[in-house]
Amino acid sequence: MHEIAELALDEAVAAGASYADVRGVVAEHESLSVQDQRVEGVARQTSRGVGIRVLVGGSWGFAATARLARQEVLATARLAVQVAEASATAQRQPVRLAPVEAARGTWATPHERDPFDVPLPEKLEMLLAATAAARQVTGLTFAKASADAWRTTTTLVSSEGADLHQTVLQVAGGVECIAVGEREVQIRSFPNSFRGYCGSGGWEDVAALDLAGQAPRHAEEAVALLSAPDLPAGRDTVVIDGNQLALQVHESVGHALELDRILGWEAAYAGTSFVGLDDLGRLRYGSPLVNLTLDTTTPKALGTYGFDDEGVPAGRTPLVVGGVLQSLLTSRETAPRVGADATSNGTMRADSWASIPLIRMTNIHLEPGEGSLEQLLDDTGRGFFLTTNRSWSIDDKRVNFQFGCEAAYEIRGGRLGKLYRNPTYAGRTTEFWGACDAISGPQAWRVYGTPNCGKGQPSQVARVAHGAAPARFRNVTVGVR
């Protein structure tokens, strides 16, 4: 692939590109799905191709192909230049790229056991054992289990001298327990909804989940939810589990702080942001307890890598410190809008060789506070505990949100009590984060993968992650139906 990438790069420069980068990508995905004792799907997909991004006259062009014969690659490089020339006919402001050191090297996800080398029967046996354990629970209608493995190998070369080779290995696994009743469907997922655990690493991380051991408890909860009351409507104190807060961070912080959205580049599709460049250092995003960090180095997190698709190395950037906005997610093109000397914090990623890199949120964490979940519940006294995302919606400026969860429990006397079904909560971003008055500590802090982050046209799906611990919010609207 390196030879093909170099071929494309030379052709693009020869055709007139003032800047060019070429990604040669080989992406493999294995997905396994079972329902009860039936194997519903076993599939391996391999995608390989080359994506060529060029600047001509300060405008971008991009062309990509899966057909890797020499003439096809050369023609695609020339097409990228033609596309850029067309872009230049509707240009207001030429692109200027923040500097980055032209890096050379390799990076690979640390892991113990390559999931693609694990025998298929072993993986299926684990999933079938999980669904069998769940189906031991009386009243459960279905149990589903799934596992995924992704290996993405990228060769990146640029006209500035970048020459990088990276292999990102990611895994997922989980079980869903589904109870169907009269006009009700209830689901409890372990360890999370939407493909379960999702992280970077090897099969050892999926095997350690003990899906079969955990499935019965979640199956029992799914059945119990069928006869539980709906979470009553009102305003109340809520403690939100880390797995739900992860998506709260995703929707109301991660997307809101993408500088391309702030600049209006996503206005026609997913929208813009309530955040402006003038808000840096000023906007009170949340209470003083709220600290949010972009960290592409977090071990085992789904959004971890060695360098982004512009060759910018992974790193750590505080976004919100003590509740005040300090930084944004940037790229080489957008960083100069923050300041003349600003550089990219390395968030540009494409979901395949066929896509252009966009600012993606990678790993964004809500930093932990203090104490255990039990201490937080004890301190709370009364309220509701909401866990595991079921649905999500937020407006095009990332302000007005509404989430649904799989289950809620009443907090009474500092302990979890009565179970409620179909819980929802809603709010406005800075009001909500401003109402945060307690966050559990490192012992309750986990990283949750989000494998289905959508953005861009044509739509791209990114795998990202968020660390969070259960946290308490006061006077929150709940029970919207």
């Binding site: 599939a43 391999t46 390989r48 991009f62 990509a64 033609q82 649905s391 044509p458 919207v480």
Partner: protein, 452 residues
């Protein structure tokens, strides 16, 4: 310029795979897809992203004599890689347990032909940029435009050892624009199978006029309002209703509201919804990913839930035949109606529907809609790009965006009017089709924002 790979080249790839897999497997299905085209994206009234891509993929599903199934795929036209893909599918099947529910592969069946638009195929990067400039020329200098214009070709071939040999090509075009002013935004969208569906100047004018009309919106509190939903907003309801209620698998498993309710009146008799990939209102292929010809399936006929869609697996479970709604294998989600369209009524234009609204809201478009309760068909989302207060049949002022939380069945239980006019619209999670506008006596808004 986008050049088709063509039936012959696709058949050559498929036949090589069929021949190799057929030596070891009892049944083989080969799916070859070529997707090529360009998308020119603009923001702040300039082109900022511009792509041209060509992808060719081969998917192989094999089944052994004792019902073991394996699926593998690769994005390639390299014969050696295709051979490796076949071998991988065979290896997966060898170590997988038998699937007693495997329904067999698609038998020979003819399918309809769909027209391919040469003008779409001939569109160059320069041509796309010219369309974008044509739209931008209509945007007032104090407004900014963002959007995308795409021209695409998709070729699909499905070949089985049971004898099916289906090939089709389809072209599609889509132009969308959001024009933004100091306190408001407006939206326009066009699309279909051919370039003649695209009028960039008209799109620029519509989105700009909407943005200007939406200036200085006022905040409304939550509450139930009579509404006129423009075609894009109607389309969101229709597409979510189809997704939630009319997939054969969810229906059979009791996870769709249609379970046990086919034949019942579920919405107003003015509502008829069909899934019809061949209709001029939508863009679809004439057969599904299993090679079964697509049928027009009436989902809701004059308010009555009529039928759900099936692939070969759910057809076998239900004792019927596939309606041609299978998705790419392996598919743990079941068949889905991916080309739902709603029949227009006799209500005239959007303006006519507004004229019949004594006091209520005109909603241009819904945003980031998601499911709250699947069996109640309850969804939540936001209005965007133009929400207006109507009094005595006239738009009197713009209002800030509102959040709705609403059962689709409840919203459509009583329909005042369905427009005669239709317009093309797509939704964040679904493809595009033409939809009418509707006037409804009640729609539940649960919270608000401070901007339009």
């Amino acid at each position: 310029m986008t050049a088709p790979v063509g039936r012959e080249a696709i058949e050559r790839l498929a036949d090589a795979a069929l021949e190799r897999a057929g030596r070891s497997a009892a049944g083989v299905e080969v799916v070859v897809q070529h997707a090529a085209g360009g998308l020119t994206r603009f923001a702040n009234s300039q082109i900022h992203q511009n792509v041209a891509t060509a992808d060719l993929s081969v998917g192989v599903r094999v089944v052994t004599g004792d019902g073991r199934v394996g699926v593998a795929g690769a994005h390639t036209d390299d014969p050696a890689t295709v051979a490796d893909t076949v071998d991988r599918a065979l290896e997966i099947a060898r170590v997988s347990p038998p699937d007693p529910e495997f329904p067999g592969l698609a038998p020979p069946a003819g399918h309809a032909e769909v027209p391919v638009d040469d003008a779409t195929l001939g569109m160059s990067p320069g041509g796309r940029a010219a369309v974008v400039r044509g739209l931008l020329d209509e945007v007032p200098p104090d407004f900014e435009a963002a959007g995308a214009f795409s021209t695409d070709l998709s070729e699909l071939g499905v070949f089985t050892t049971a004898g099916q040999r289906a090939y089709s090509a389809v072209t599609s075009v889509q132009l969308s624009a959001v024009v933004t002013g100091p306190s408001s935004s407006g939206y326009a969208e066009q699309g279909g199978r051919a370039l003649t569906e695209i009028d960039p100047a008209a799109a620029g004018r519509v989105a700009s006029a909407k943005a200007r009309a939406g200036a200085s919106p006022v905040e409304l509190g939550p509450g139930s309002w009579p509404v006129v939903l423009e075609p894009a907003a109607t389309g969101t309801l229709v597409q979510f209703l189809a997704y939630l209620g009319f997939g054969g698998r969810d229906h059979l498993e009791g996870r769709a509201f249609t379970a046990g309710r086919l034949g019942e009146r579920v919405v107003d008799e003015q509502v008829t919804i069909a899934d019809d990939a061949l209709a001029r209102e939508t863009v679809g292929l004439p057969f599904d990913w299993e090679g079964t010809p697509k049928q027009r399936v009436v989902l809701v006929g004059e308010g009555v839930a009529v039928a759900v869609v099936h692939d070969r697996h759910t057809a076998r479970r239900s004792g019927g035949a596939s309606t041609g709604h299978g998705l790419p294998a392996p598919n743990p989600y079941g068949p889905l109606p991916v080309n739902p369209i709603m029949a227009p009524g006799d209500g005239g234009s959007v303006a006519d529907l507004v004229a019949g609204l004594e006091r209520g809201l005109l909603v241009t478009r819904l945003h980031y809609t998601n499911v709250v309760h699947p069996l109640e068909t309850s969804i939540t989302g936001m209005t965007r790009d133009g929400t207006f207060l109507v009094e005595d049949g006239r738009v009197v002022r713009a209002v800030c965006n509102l959040r709705f939380t609403q059962s689709i069945l409840a919203a459509l239980a009583s329909v005042d009017a369905v427009s005669t006019e239709t317009a093309y619209a797509s939704e964040l999670f679904f493809g595009g089709s033409r939809f009418p506008a509707v006037r409804l006596p009640a729609f539940e808004f649960t919270s608000s924002t401070t901007y339009g």
